[in-house]
Amino acid sequence: MGRRSTAGPRVFGGVTIVADGTEVLRIEGIHKAFGSFVALQSIDLTISEGEMVCFVGPSGCGKTTLLRIIAGLEEQTRGRVVQKGRDVSHAPPSARDYGIVFQSYALFPNLTIDQNVAYGLVNRRKSRGEIKSRVQELLSLVGLPGEGRKYPGQLSGGQQQRIALARALATSPSLLLLDEPLSALDAKVRERLRGEIRALQRRLKITTIMVTHDQEEALSMSDRVVVMRQGEIEQIGSPQDVYERPATPFVAAFLGKVSILTGVAAGNGRYKVGDSELTLPADGFSPGAPVRIYLRPEDRHIEGNLADLPNRLSGTVRRIEYLGTVCLAEVDCHPLGQSMLVSISLNQLHDLGIREGGNLAFALRTDRVRVFPEPSVQ
């Protein structure tokens, strides 16, 4: 629901912040099998300096496994991991240059916050004074100065996760790995920390890979989104790319909401759906080919003079999902013989008097519509 409001101004401007395009990490043909279960197959990916990349996908898609392979916590069955020109494919975690934050925080419960943050610095045999000032610096960086004497158990989840972030950043790694860092937190804290992590990442210009199953998180935080499914990459692109121009039906359905209309191509961008015919800016289907039309709830006009617009539809509002700023109406479109989701702002809901059981007329907005061939029946 908050997708458009949070994601809108930040990334929909089409700006992709990639510092200079220097390659930091290259993944070549990574393949991972757990027994007979194939977790990853032939993954290729290049990540540039200063970039924030999100691996997103449903659980079991292999995103966490891929992150763990990059971290050296899991070993790939085949393939290479090259970090800054150095082949680290078989290097232990300690011989790779990264900081990692886990979903469960994984702070050492018996050590104070100071000791937790200093943990990696102590391993590097830094001087006491150096460690002290660096810990102070990091605690202020994550907004928790003066909490150093406490133990992790005395902090809230959000605070613990900031400490975990400080610990990961302490040794100034060239790569930051975040494994579902926000999943364990309350919605409010999650939203705030999302913004803070992104701001911090931009300020430090640190190359970051984040794993998440939350598409909203992926869209709002990253420069590039890697959508994964069943051990394979479905699409790589900017949040705008993957949301507005999904390459596959899976990506379209996974990121955001879609209505899927089944129809038959009639040639020249015309599609027969039920009793009506839609004209869409998508072609390449021979007449008679069964297709699926993917429409976002916001791909519609409902105000103004609809009479002049093509692809006019109307139907009965079966159900309204009240979400606050934006509401979703499920409309049974009579000529289509199918129902579809239409998003309505709260103002429109009141101004147009839209209610359950009432009638709703609208026209399709077709510039972002995607048409995919009907998947062959297996």
Partner: protein
């Protein structure tokens, strides 16, 4: 929850008038249990206190017995000896048991089930058995007597033998506790440490050891308390090394001095109480080490480490089986150490002539009653406490008393029982001796699974 609790709170004052009679009717079982615990647990302990401040005619003498105790040089020596014995035992058992448990829970050695079973074998044997075995092995006529000078010893009797035998007896208890405390760990902590470039040693100190801290403390307390209260080992292999547990036996059974026996009993109770309090504090502080988001740690193969721990486990297992085997072998030897030919005559002799015929069934009958009644009473008690409503102050009282045997060594309870079950100034009859021993056996049986 609150909806249910509210009316109960309102009803409480009204119900309080007839509450004891009412509670007795509805919670008959609980009251019976309370009465039983009072009679057989609290009363003996109370008697111990009372006897300790009385003289032989039963008159109140304040701390005179304690003063007399403090002024008895031999008892002072015993106290120091008991503490030394318990200290060395703990010092040896806990690290050894930790290594053994670590091998089973945190390495990739093979046949873990086998090693686990072997470690627990000594639990089945009475503590006298290793003491006897060590005499067979290292005693004056021992087969391995020649080894002693290598480690700077002239004989096994006394502290060295006691510690060895006690290490053997206490080992399975410590292993069980440490196996449990090493069973679960958060894999993410290890990964976080690895990602931060941590050496194996520092990782052990900052992740593994703190994770097992409570188990370690618990194991230390249990082993120390066991050693302090141990009677069989010092009696058999202790030589002239006096300890409190034997003294108390001498005072009560030998000299009929119940009052001094009670004093020593209370002193024996002291470390147990300290251990209990420490354990309670530690448990209260213990926070959940694993949350729902933790990922259980699974060790990965590491050749060097696995081989080293396999060697440790095999060594300990060989010694364990060797010590037990020695006792078994000894029981078949004709006349140790002069005639090593094998015979079953000790068994036939033991059963036919040495009174074993009567004693063995007695032990079995006692054990059966303990098993049957103990299980039934414990189950019924737990059921009444957990599955019935109300009961008021009875439940917390039972709970507290149920914890008592965990901290009270069986020996102390035995003395308490013999203090309370005979009229003052009556000569000790054979029946009371049996009563006392069965009571202490009962409590020690209930202690072990509880820990």
């Amino acid at each position: 929850m609150s909806a249910i609790a509210a009316p109960a709170a309102v009803d409480a004052p009204r119900a309080s008038r007839g509450s004891i009679a009412e509670s007795m009717a509805t919670h008959g079982g609980l009251w019976l249990l309370l009465a039983g615990l009072l009679a057989f647990l609290t009363l003996p302990l109370a008697m111990l206190f009372i006897r300790s401040v009385e003289d032989k005619s039963g008159a109140f003498v304040g701390f005179a017995n304690f003063v007399a105790y403090a002024q008895t040089p031999s008892l002072e020596v015993s106290t120091v000896n008991s503490l030394t014995f318990a200290f060395y035992t703990t010092l040896l058992v806990v690290p050894l048991a930790f290594g053994y448990a670590y091998a089973i829970q945190r390495t990739c050695i093979r046949w873990k089930g086998l090693w686990r079973s072997i470690a627990l074998v000594p639990i089945l044997a009475p503590s006298m058995l290793p003491a006897l075995s060590f005499i067979y092995l290292f005693g004056n006529q021992g087969v391995l007597k020649g080894v002693l000078p290598w480690v700077g010893l002239t004989q096994i009797y006394g502290l060295p033998g006691m510690v060895l035998a006690m290490v053997f007896s206490a080992f399975p208890h410590a292993v069980m506790i440490l196996l449990a405390s090493l069973a679960l760990a958060d894999a993410r902590l290890y990964e976080a440490a690895d990602a931060l470039g941590t050496s194996a040693w520092r990782r052990f100190l900052t992740v593994t050891l703190p994770g097992a801290k409570y188990g370690l403390i618990s194991a230390m307390m249990v082993v120390f308390t066991m050693a302090i209260a141990e009677f069989g080992v010092p009696k058999i292999i202790g030589g002239r090394f006096q300890v409190l547990a034997v003294d108390v036996y001498k005072q009560v059974i030998g000299q009929q001095n119940f009052h001094m026996g009670a004093v020593v009993g209370l002193i024996l109770l002291l470390p147990a109480v300290v251990a209990f309090v420490v354990d309670y504090q530690v448990r209260r502080k213990q926070q959940a080490l694993l949350t729902t988001r933790s990922v259980p740690y699974a060790p990965r193969p590491s050749r060097g480490r696995d081989l080293a721990f396999l060697a440790l486990v095999i060594l300990v297992s060989i010694v364990t089986l060797g010590v037990i085997g020695m006792a078994v072998f000894g029981s078949f030897v004709k006349f140790w150490p002069y005639n090593l030919s094998l015979t079953t005559q000790h068994y036939t002799y033991g059963f036919a002539e040495a009174g074993l015929e009567r004693a063995y069934p007695n032990s079995l009958v006692m054990a059966c009653w303990c098993a049957v009644l103990g299980a039934a009473i414990t189950f019924a008690g737990a059921y009444w406490i957990e599955k019935t409503r109300g009961g008021g102050f009875v439940k917390p009282l039972i709970r507290f008393q149920a914890l008592l045997p965990m901290s009270v060594p069986g020996l102390v309870l035995g003395i308490g029982t013999s203090c309370s079950s005979i009229p003052r100034a009556t000569r000790l009859g054979s029946s009371t001796g049996r009563w006392g021993s069965s009571s202490s056996a009962r409590s020690s049986i209930s202690i072990r699974p509880a820990i």
